[in-house]
């Protein structure tokens, strides 16, 4: 059973679209006929990048200014879904903003949200795989509350791969009035300088130490 439509959350950073988004797009292409992206920000800035990875449309709120992502993007998504544009599944990263958006949306739609997943299968319903107990056991959980399912995935769960598509079309995602719940504001962003690659994005990790011999499965 392939899904009809999947929406993937586009996380952005100073380098453009974050790797987690491109990884989820690769999986979304595999399980759905139509793959679209939503972003709390400028859609045109990422349309080419996500289009090259298979997204046909970017649903974009436009610049949120000093508003926080969670409450406002979730409110916009809920309004779009209630207006009849519901996908079968929303995929987000297990990230700071991904969790905030998914949490607010789950309440708006009264649907469960499953986080920390590393895989998804749609052969018999939507079933996600979640590691527990330090990754020693895997739990497979089926969504049973109807569409849309809301699932969050860990970085590096899938391998990003370009599909050669053209730039995605940009569609407005209107943000409704969020009332008192939307009163928190973003005042300033601080980027802390780091050097070298991020460990969770590295394909190969070279480590050393006396404990290595006792953990032959570590790498």
């Amino acid at each position: 059973m392939a899904l009809s439509k999947v929406w993937v959350h586009a996380e952005t950073n100073e380098n453009g679209v974050a790797p987690i988004t491109l990884e989820m797009l690769a999986k979304a292409r595999e399980i759905a006929d139509t793959v679209e992206v939503f972003v709390g920000g400028d859609g045109s800035a990422i349309a080419a990048a996500v289009g090259a990875h298979g997204a046909t449309t970017v649903h974009a709120t436009g610049d949120l200014g000093g508003k926080l992502q969670g409450v406002h993007v979730a409110a916009a998504l809920a309004a779009a879904i209630e207006a009849g544009g519901a996908p079968d599944l929303l995929m987000l990263g297990t990230t700071y903003d991904g969790r905030d958006i998914a949490a607010r949306l789950s309440v708006k739609l009264d649907k469960p949200v499953l986080t920390n997943n590393i895989d998804i299968d749609v052969t018999d319903g939507i079933v996600v795989t979640t590691p527990i107990f330090g990754g020693t056991q895997l739990v497979k959980t089926k969504f049973a509350a109807g569409a849309p399912a809301i699932a969050l995935f860990r970085p590096k769960s899938f391998v990003a791969e370009e599909s050669g598509g053209g730039a995605a079309a940009v569609s407005d995602l209107a943000v409704p009035d969020t009332g008192a719940a939307g009163a928190a504001k973003l005042l300033n962003r601080h980027v802390e300088e780091t050097t070298g690659p991020k460990l969770d994005e590295a394909a190969v990790v070279v480590a050393g130490g006396r404990a290595s011999a006792r953990r032959p499965s570590s790498r």
Binding site: G70, Y96, D110, T141, K142, A145, A183, A184, V191
Partner: protein, 259 residues
């Protein structure tokens, strides 16, 4: 300044975790205060102290009327606690938990701020605080690594992938705090003794006016279809350092074409 802190009582992480036959986590032994919640409790105590008045109320959901973890937080200095304990909550997911905790928080009069950890150590969904805020229609700032209150506003440094964001919100609001936001105090002997007589209001789902058909297994909206051992990860290559290990590592990386 009245602060509500959501705290979870969990199986001791030092013991190996185990599942019941219905795939729920075994919680039938003694439960302890989740260490990640001790930061929220400490933060709340410091904020109330700085404000010069008010109190800290704990809110928790646990099976079997368990209060051992709550007593630890009461010994740190919290004034009272609300515990929701009901067999109907077995199998509850994150959204059910948020509905129950939000209803319990709603019973605390005059709460200026709700604090929670970013995620629990045994469930780690990382969504419950934001779900509580959504249910209570409160503004929220998550993943706080610093919290200050001034003139009816909470100012927060929110952790991000790249660094941190300076955020602020009018009160009342919900803030989730990261480990390390403050250094939790150890309960004093006097605090431990005082905690024994502090009030713990134990409630059921019905007491909160929640229909038991929408929480627990009945309302989770998800079905665990399988639990299995994870496949062994492919063994890494271990190189004994005989003085030439660096050469072999360079060769290995060169073979991957990452140099």
């Amino acid at each position: 300044m009245n602060v509500v802190v959501c705290v979870k009582q969990i199986p001791d992480p030092a013991d190996p975790g185990a599942l019941n036959a219905d795939h729920t986590l075994k919680r039938d032994g003694k439960l302890i205060l989740d260490e990640s919640d001790s930061y929220g409790v400490e933060m709340a105590l410091q904020l109330v102290d700085k404000a010069g008045g008010g109190e800290v109320t704990l809110v928790s959901m646990a099976p079997n009327g368990e209060v051992a973890g709550l007593r630890t937080a009461l010994a740190m200095g919290a004034a009272k606690a609300i515990l929701v304990s009901d067999d109907a909550l077995k199998g509850a997911g994150a959204l059910d938990t948020a509905k129950v905790l939000a209803a319990a928080i709603g019973r605390v009069e005059g709460a200026d701020l709700v604090l929670a950890a970013t995620e629990s150590s045994d469930g780690y969904t990382g969504t419950v605080p934001e779900q509580i805020a959504a249910i209570l229609d409160l503004p929220s700032i998550t993943f706080a690594k610093s919290v200050e209150i001034a003139d009816g506003t909470v100012k927060v440094q929110r952790q991000t992938e790249a660094g941190y964001d300076e955020c602020e919100s009018p009160l009342p609001a919900l803030v989730s705090v990261t480990a390390g936001v403050v250094e939790p105090r150890y309960p004093s002997f006097k605090g431990i003794m005082a905690a024994k007589s502090k009030p713990v209001d134990t409630l059921t789902v019905a007491d909160l006016g929640i229909d038991s058909a929408i929480v627990g297994w009945a309302g989770a909206g998800q079905e665990i279809v399988n639990v299995e051992a994870a496949p062994e990860r492919e063994a890494g290559e271990i190189i004994e350092d005989d003085g030439e290990a660096h050469v072999k590592i360079v060769e290995f990386l060169d073979g991957l074409k990452v140099l």
